[in-house]
């Protein structure tokens, strides 16, 4: 349960090795609680668990693979709750960034879409059902500004994020009145291993900026939040531009600089 000071007690991170996800979890549980890291690489999860443990913060790990069948995700949530109690916040931070040019064969597109859209969508569905039954809890979904304006260089990624973004927001609306909610987070370029080596566009941020903003948004009510905040008006303006003008304005976009 969240306490009288608004502090969550149990946080589940789907994508337990995600740098953005870990920073968010770290800020959501500053004074203790239980953090569950769910992911597919046991060694990396164990190392992260050790790094994130604090005197009053227990860190546990569970297996999660976005490519696994839906039932595995449903089970994962049930096991997490049975072992650690109600899930106050679930952070969905799974994703791979693939340059469209690298998705040459169709199977690669399938794999990318499974990781970025299909798996996360199932996770949103399963988590929403659980939080609804709990009568409380927040699902934080890592979308991207790419969901608002899709770049040619990151077409599959952008389409996946756009679809996930719509799906998560609609599920969030359907949760109204249940005590549970969904928060969609749309970061711009964040300096993580995902973006390492890519040219930096304007408004690049660090994981701590994303985490601070998510912490505030989780404490409040918004359904969508941008990081940094200035990207909200920027993206609104960009979205209104005709595609041809957008291409000319943004020479970097074909290189896929912003996930």
């Amino acid at each position: 349960m969240r306490d009288g000071l608004g502090r969550p007690q149990t946080v589940l991170l789907l994508g337990g090795t995600s740098q953005i996800g870990q920073a968010i979890a770290d800020q959501l549980l500053p004074d203790g609680g239980t953090l569950i890291l769910a992911g597919r690489d046991p060694a990396a999860l164990a190392a992260a668990a050790e790094r994130l443990a604090r005197p009053r913060r227990h860190v546990a790990t569970l297996h999660y693979d976005a490519l696994a069948p839906a039932a595995a995700t449903v089970d994962l949530l049930a096991v997490a709750a049975a072992r650690h109690g109600d899930l106050d916040v679930v952070v969905l931070s799974v994703g791979v960034l693939a340059d469209e040019a690298a998705l040459a064969d169709t199977a690669a597109v399938e794999q990318a879409m499974h990781t970025n859209l299909f798996g996360p969508m199932l996770a949103v569905h399963a988590t929403a059902a659980r939080l609804r039954a709990q009568g409380h809890g927040t699902l934080v979904v890592l979308s991207s500004v790419a969901a608002v304006r899709t770049r040619d260089g990151l077409l599959s990624y952008g389409v996946a994020k756009a679809a996930l973004d719509v799906y998560a927001r609609r599920i969030g609306e359907s949760l109204r009145g249940s005590g549970a909610r969904v928060l969609v987070v749309r970061p711009g370029h964040v300096r993580t291993r995902m973006t390492a080596g890519l040219p930096e566009p304007p408004f690049a941020t660090n994981v701590s900026d994303v985490a601070a903003r998510v912490r505030r948004a989780v404490a409040g009510r918004p359904g969508v939040t941008y990081v940094p905040a200035v990207l909200r008006p920027v993206m609104t303006a960009l979205r209104l531009l005709p595609a041809a003008v957008y291409r000319r304005l943004d020479p970097a976009q074909r290189k896929g600089a912003t996930p």
């Binding site: 349960m1 608004g6 004074d31 109600d86 409380h136 005590g179």
Partner: protein, 454 residues
């Protein structure tokens, strides 16, 4: 006919402090059959009893489940003058009882600080008054009670019959069963009026000395301290004026929701405290009707709203005699962090009883009200560690933010209580937000997981 458990209709249910809330289905059963049907049909999110809703935090909330009001049974039986007892429904409030009993020359030995507290809530939290050294807690005066338990249905409990179950239910926070009726022991009342004397002291050390002396010499004793440690001791004795007829209830003041931290904003708190001390110097003696002594905050039902949008949390703890430094530190640390309490109330506790989760134990009791600002978290967490190290504990029914492991250290009887609890409610139907947050009932599962990983 049982009530329809309509799960579609969930409402937001909060604590008295307005800092906690969650959605649940609220029901108000009338008959035994209604209750039985609710127990049968409680789903996986379980149910919790709710009395007057005067808990500061989440003790009477149950997210996603059922919150079952006991208010339909507010019956008061005839006083048995030979035994000095009265049988009442769990939903009757202490305020109603005190008024009802007075004309016959009787009263409750233990009365908590809000008239809206029900008998069920008073037993479930094992509440205390301003006279713990004399009369102990509310549970001490329960001769017998009828409790609806998931495992055995309605059973009688008393200190002699089903004694373990009785003491697990006293202070059991609604997690062992639903108290339906209780027979309470009474004490004679000589007057509806009490004489009070207020005494100002400039330093915490002196406040404690004088409060301790007052607790020995007067019927009721309580002190209010400001963040700097200065304070006012109030002692009360029954007035010689023998009138037993209750006076009219005091006027209630309407209060707005203040912006920001409201009254907990330090300059406002300081001004209010200075005004209070000045009033004591001007007029130290009063003749008051009983409710004014018992229920001072009743005239300000909007007290939580005065703490701003986020509401109010209370941190109420006790430490043994000799650990006075923890009291001083509580005031100093919160003040240093810029979060002085808007109200700080000191009392003296006498001997503890046999209930594993009962709060009072010999020593000092300090209740601190704060605006529910997240920045308080680490400050109060650190304070809890000092309290536990000093052999003290926080008051569970008022809690809204403690850590489960600290609670386990503060209540060594927790394991014993869990053992009795699990026989009364093996399927864990009885559960509250507070029970989940503090992991009060979960130990079995936690142990199993611990064992399987060992």
């Amino acid at each position: 006919m049982g009530p329809v458990v309509n799960r579609g209709r969930q409402t937001l249910i909060g604590g008295w402090g307005r800092a906690t809330q969650s959605r649940a289905t609220e029901l108000t059963p009338g008959t035994d059959d209604d209750w039985a049907e609710i127990i049968r049909s409680a789903g996986s999110r379980g149910l919790i009893a709710r009395g007057g809703g005067r808990s500061y935090g989440d003790a009477a909330q149950n997210a996603g489940g059922l919150v079952v009001s006991t208010l339909a049974d507010g019956s008061i039986g005839d006083v048995d003058p030979a035994a000095a007892t009265v049988e009442v429904g769990a939903g009757v409030t202490v305020g109603e009882l005190v008024r009802h009993l007075a004309p016959g020359g009787w009263t409750l030995p233990v009365v908590p600080g809000s008239s809206g507290v029900t008998v069920g809530g008073a037993i479930a939290a094992d509440v205390h008054g301003k006279n713990h050294q004399r009369h102990g807690t509310f549970g001490r005066h329960v001769a017998t009670m009828t409790v609806l338990t998931p495992a055995y249905g309605m059973i009688e409990m008393s200190p002699t019959v089903n004694a373990d179950e009785f003491w697990a239910t006293v202070g059991g926070l609604g997690l062992t069963g639903i108290i339906r009726r209780a027979t309470l022991r009474l004490i004679p009342l000589a007057s509806w009026w009490v004489s009070t004397v207020d005494e100002e002291q400039p330093r915490l050390q002196r406040v404690l000395e004088r409060l301790h002396a007052a607790a020995m010499s007067s019927e009721h004793a309580v002190a209010w301290v400001d963040p700097g440690g200065a304070g006012v001791i109030t002692m009360a004795t029954t007035a010689r004026l023998g009138a037993l007829t209750p006076s009219r209830a005091a006027r209630r003041h309407v209060t707005p929701t203040l912006p920001g931290r409201g009254i907990a904003w330090p300059p406002l708190t300081a001004a209010a405290n200075a005004a209070r001390r000045a009033a004591v110097v001007l007029r130290p003696r009063h003749l008051r009707p009983l409710p004014d002594l018992h229920f001072p905050l009743d005239t300000l039902p909007g007290w939580p709203r005065l703490h701003g949008r986020r509401g109010l949390i209370q941190h109420h703890f006790t430490v043994p005699f000799g650990a006075e430094h923890v009291l001083a530190e509580a005031l100093r640390a919160t003040r240093a962090a810029g979060h002085s309490p808007s109200l700080a109330i000191l009392k003296v506790f006498g001997a503890a009883n046999s209930a594993p989760l009962s709060f009072p134990a010999p020593g000092w009791s300090l209740a601190l009200d704060f605006a529910a600002d997240p920045a308080l978290g680490p400050v109060l967490d650190r304070l809890d560690e000092r309290i536990a190290a000093a052999g003290g504990r926080v008051y569970l029914v008022k809690d809204s933010r403690a850590h489960p492991d600290v609670i386990a250290a503060m209540y060594p009887g927790l394991a014993r209580w869990r053992a009795v609890r699990s026989t009364l409610d093996p399927d864990r139907l009885l559960v509250s937000d507070l029970a989940r947050r503090l992991r009060l009932a979960d130990q079995r599962i936690a142990d199993q997981i611990g064992a399987s990983h060992a």
